[in-house]
Symmetry: C2
Subunit: 378 residues, 2 copies
Amino acid sequence: MSVSTQGSVDIAATGAADRVFNFSAGPAVLPVQVLEEVQREMVCLPGAGASLMELSHRGKVFVDIVESAVEDIRSLLRVPETHEVLFVQGGATLQFSMIPANLLRSQDAAAAYLITGSWGKKALTEARKEGEVDVVYDASSTNFNHAPGAGDFEVKEDAAYAYYCCNETIQGVQFQSEPQVPSDVPLVCDASSDLFSRPLDISKYGLIYACAQKNAGPAGATVVIIRKDLIDRGSDSLPGYLLYKNHANAGSMWNTPATFPIYVMGKVLKWIQSNFGDLESMRDHNEAKAKLLYDVLDANPDFYVGHADENARSRMNVTFNLPSDDQLQAFIGSAADAGLANLKGHRSVGGVRASVYNAMPIEGVEKLAQFMTDFASR
Amino acid sequence: MSVSTQGSVDIAATGAADRVFNFSAGPAVLPVQVLEEVQREMVCLPGAGASLMELSHRGKVFVDIVESAVEDIRSLLRVPETHEVLFVQGGATLQFSMIPANLLRSQDAAAAYLITGSWGKKALTEARKEGEVDVVYDASSTNFNHAPGAGDFEVKEDAAYAYYCCNETIQGVQFQSEPQVPSDVPLVCDASSDLFSRPLDISKYGLIYACAQKNAGPAGATVVIIRKDLIDRGSDSLPGYLLYKNHANAGSMWNTPATFPIYVMGKVLKWIQSNFGDLESMRDHNEAKAKLLYDVLDANPDFYVGHADENARSRMNVTFNLPSDDQLQAFIGSAADAGLANLKGHRSVGGVRASVYNAMPIEGVEKLAQFMTDFASR
């Protein structure tokens, strides 16, 4: 499908037809419609006379893009007026430090951490540098294969905040609902790999955040939704970039933001709205996709061994192993030959990981499910 | 020049022909050849089966891109083996804090700061949070219109480091050569708006850095070149993302980097190499462009008033004012009508600012110079 244009841009030389189904855990699959839109606008954004990448972040074109992205986030997640929406650089990793630097360092109390996987552990390491931390739940003894139930942990009434990661990408373990914490304790959540994949009651959170590169866009932009009364907890002695209030007071323009990742994220949000309408419908779609894969695991219990307990199964990252390493290698190799790419599990867990974020089409999941069934029967 | 392809991507609807000459100070003009290459690869990077934005940062495709970008930076700037090249998020602003957090907090000595404009001032504010600072030069009394000469300041023998910004984008003031500091004092430089625009002797620097969005790519990627013996100065008690050694030990993959901005930066570096060969030739090109504009200022001294002293004139940002605000508004408006865009000076200085970074074609500068001459004679 190679077509040359007058501008000598042989744009379709490698296009949609050359794409594989990409199960990468992140950076991850994006909607092809979004990529095509970005492609059309790459050399010159209509009306702007330049590529988006070349425009000042303080110009009207980009300011409109940011404001529209914030509005769409507010609308999709029904963010209440009590909360602010920010864009920050540095990924989830910088949030691991910004959260305790702002919300713990200045407090007399300890923060409560629930550890259900690798990302929670990393967050914990950074929090301990900033203040006192109580680990109120730790699933490491069972190799992080489950999430706690209601009575499995306790958060003190005076905790500075309670922290958890609602979907552990590496282990494929997802909380089915928010953990219960005392009403005065701000709930803080790393939703990097499932924000925008399902509806959430944002009013329950003091702070919830996500790096973009799972369900919402390319790496480089991180969304932070923070309750307004928590914004000022950070001390002015912190490095300026780490202070939430600097970002909030400047409408996420305290310094030059990662303009292009935010622009792409804006298009992904519009894609969710126009293709699914709301996050209830997005969730139903994602649950249907994940079910296709878990059904194959359940139908072949002697061949596929799922990592996560049944009631903690992630709808985003389906993790499982095969009886032998030879079979695992054969599985990943044959799948790649069949256009089912990037299925290798994280090195710390091994096995297979199929990430089926928002933008993974159901056709890709159906093809993988069929491949898994065929492979198990061979 | 609208051409539809089979894939229904009406790619050339807004293409090179619709572009204006964009004098934005940053994010800023990029080479159109780079934009067209990115455009071609947007939906599917050849051989990868996906867009670059969708690929894991730990996969071979992206690792090759990072390694190649580092190699090209090393080659263009002739970075010696004593120095490491890192990519970090957070822009120059995060460097304002990372530098003193790593290089000052653990030291008994003060850091020396030379302040020649707005960016140096911002860096100073952050440094003061981390330790003792001596301001050894401050050009604020003349509204930051010049850079110091050799005898104009003194840096103590035991300073933790000496810091300066070699090109103040807002004021259009550029150091013509490195400031002289005692040989044991690491020289630290914010080269955000002129790295890659001219050759530099990197061996003179303890640390030199630049955000990408002036001469090297889109916002979101920051290049840090640091002498290896300085990498370990930072204490492990720092927030992990702020520790240079974490980024260095992980080859800039301590966490997910801003993959797309780095990929575009890689293409810009290749563009410099294939169009100019080396930074001596790039400098000559940039000096020729800036001269076109300064010649118009010098030919019309009663009409155009340059902001910078003649021996501190920036080859990147040409700043000047007009006799009246009415004339200034007319100038900016008529220029925009003529396809010469984003010439408004920064709000803190006013007037006109023409940023003529690497990717600004000489045709754009010639057109602006002609416009300026015509406007002055009207």
